[in-house]
């Protein structure tokens, strides 16, 4: 089991690294991860096919705003590896991948938490004009997470599917249900964090619009996007027209009276209304 365990550790490393160190080019998705597991464990074809099945299940999972509703990568890697190693089918792969991906969410939260602790150092280095130190710590931080994942990958396989699957099956149903609900709830955090970045007084109404379009009219996201573009263009051309009149007014004002701090108050208007 040593060699497969090392291979899986490597794949776990690469998958997690691709998020932090390669800006997430989708390498960590089941479609790719399962293929790599298949390749490493000598059954490429099965790996690819399991990847397809797992991708279907995890298609709804995205990582918006940093929130990960379910760690599809870890689940897929373990699921595929065990199924191949034990010469079992897709059903077994799925039955392991889903609970593992729910459990593994906690690993990710832990890594993120630790990275947060590094901030004090980054700030210190900036204050002290030490760009080189910043770079070094950034590299450390980038490989740290993947190493944790690699370790888990190694242990998981080395200890064997027996113990993992025993572990998984020893989890009572009520816990698994809870994890499933958690997986459905966590995306709300991602969306809310994203929302927090966009939110401005008065634009909440557009959230509702997008929601309605997708919910009541069942429009696909691309159609919603196009309608959004149309609306944004229309409204900003109206804003532009109003701004022109405003500037016209202001310039006249400026011309009539002496050059006072109107300009500033105008600027303020823009950022308050």
């Amino acid at each position: 089991m040593l060699v497969p365990a090392l291979w899986v550790a490597l794949i776990m490393f690469v998958g997690n690294f691709s998020d932090c160190g390669m800006s997430d080019p989708m390498i960590r998705r089941p479609l790719v991860m399962s293929m790599l597991v298949g390749l490493a464990l000598g059954d490429l074809r099965t790996g690819i096919m399991m990847g397809a099945s797992l991708e279907v299940i995890f298609l709804g999972i995205s990582g918006i705003g940093g929130a990960m509703p379910s760690d599809s990568m870890t689940g897929s890697i373990f699921g595929t590896a065990f199924a191949i190693l034990n010469h079992q089918g897709v059903a077994v792969a799925l039955s392991l991948a889903v609970p593992i991906s729910l459990l593994a969410v906690f690993i990710n939260q832990l890594v993120i938490f630790v990275r947060g602790l590094l901030l004090t150092f980054f700030e210190k280095y900036a204050e002290e004009d030490k760009p080189k130190a910043i770079e070094r710590l950034q590299y450390l931080s980038i490989v740290g997470g993947p190493l944790v994942y690699a370790l888990i990958g190694f242990l998981g396989i080395y200890l064997g599917s027996g113990s993992i699957s025993a572990l998984v099956h020893s989890i009572p149903q009520v816990i698994m249900n809870g994890l499933t609900v958690l997986g459905q709830m966590l995306p709300a955090l991602g969306i809310a964090l994203l929302l927090n970045m966009i939110y401005e007084k008065g634009n909440m109404i557009y959230l509702l619009l997008g929601f309605l379009l997708s919910c009541y009219l069942k429009l696909p996201i691309i159609a919603v996007a196009l309608i959004g573009i149309i609306l944004a263009v229309i409204l900003s051309s109206i804003d532009k027209n109003i701004l022109d009149v405003k500037n016209m007014t202001t310039s006249k004002k400026a011309a009539a009276t002496e050059q006072n701090d109107d300009q500033d108050s105008l600027e303020e208007d823009f950022f308050n209304d």
Binding site: P25, G178, L193, I221
Partner: protein, 278 residues
């Protein structure tokens, strides 16, 4: 405002620096966390540019300000990141050249753009391109064809790379001059507002498609069994995803940390699923 226009050949971002910044952009999410987002990554990304801008030991004060500015909270769809970072680089350059430049506008611009652009970017890259790529990839992979994962990666990453390369290029070129003027005459406000509208619409649509909570609560009254989800659907479709998302958003506005919210969600999930609500 000022006539000191920087000629193209004087630009700090020469080919070599551009290439460096471009490659570093892939490490953006390296130190990602809920407090600073990808702020550290953003600083890391334009470090070569800052070095080029303030190469000498005597530039220390300016360099330190640039370093501190550079690692402010920043979070954005990674594929889109190079665009606002290009703008920021260009504004840093202007900040050095022009006496009357207000350096606080650099982070103001970054902050005002990142939200709307993420709203658009997430639904474009996460919601659309990824889903199409997966659709095609799955079709092939089902039959064990290795083209499945390969095409999947290609279809996703070609737009990803193009957005990064041209984002950085045009961000920097557009940058200072245009953005600064747009900022001053109010146009930037309009652009950001428009992007925000679009972003909000996209996020609204995503709320419905990514938050999939449904209640399974049933209650009996007399001889009738009531299915709560059906009643809710009659009142308003998708009321649970919308409420949960808005409640979470409300907590964030109330400065509850993401870590605490996650904890709360863990507890809620277990309790409510044990109570057969979800």
């Amino acid at each position: 405002m000022t006539n000191q226009v920087t000629k193209s050949d004087e630009k700090t971002m020469d080919k070599k620096t551009f290439r460096k910044v471009f490659w570093r952009s892939f490490l953006l999410q390296g130190s990602w966390n809920y407090i600073n987002g990808a702020g550290v990554g953003a600083l890391y990304m334009i470090l070569p540019f800052i070095r080029k801008l303030y190469p000498n030991p005597e530039d220390k004060p300016q360099r330190v300000s640039a370093l501190k500015r550079g690692m402010a909270y920043f979070n954005i769809t990674p594929a889109i990141a190079p665009f606002p970072m290009g703008i920021a680089a260009s504004m840093e350059e202007q900040n050095k050249k022009l006496a009357d430049f207000d350096p606080s506008s650099i982070n103001a611009v970054k902050a005002s753009l990142m939200g709307p652009l993420s709203g658009i970017g997430d639904s474009l890259f996460w919601g659309t391109i990824r889903v199409i790529a997966a659709g095609i990839g799955i079709g092939l992979a089902k039959a064990g064809n290795i083209l499945g994962p390969i095409l999947f990666l290609l279809i996703y990453n070609i737009p990803n790379l193009l957005a990064r390369y041209y984002g950085l290029k045009y961000g920097y070129e557009l940058g200072g001059d245009f953005i600064q003027k747009a900022y001053e005459n109010g146009l930037l406000k309009i652009i950001t507002k428009a992007a925000g509208i679009l972003g909000m619409i996209m996020v609204g649509a995503m709320t419905y498609s990514t938050v999939t909570l449904k209640t399974i609560l049933k209650f009996k009254m007399g001889s009738m069994t009531f299915n709560l989800q059906q009643i809710l659907d009659q009142i308003m479709l998708g009321i649970i995803p919308l409420s949960v998302t808005l409640a979470t958003f409300f907590l964030i506005r109330k400065k509850v940390s993401a870590n605490k919210i996650i904890l709360l969600m863990v507890v809620l999930s277990f309790v409510l699923s044990a109570l057969k609500v979800f």
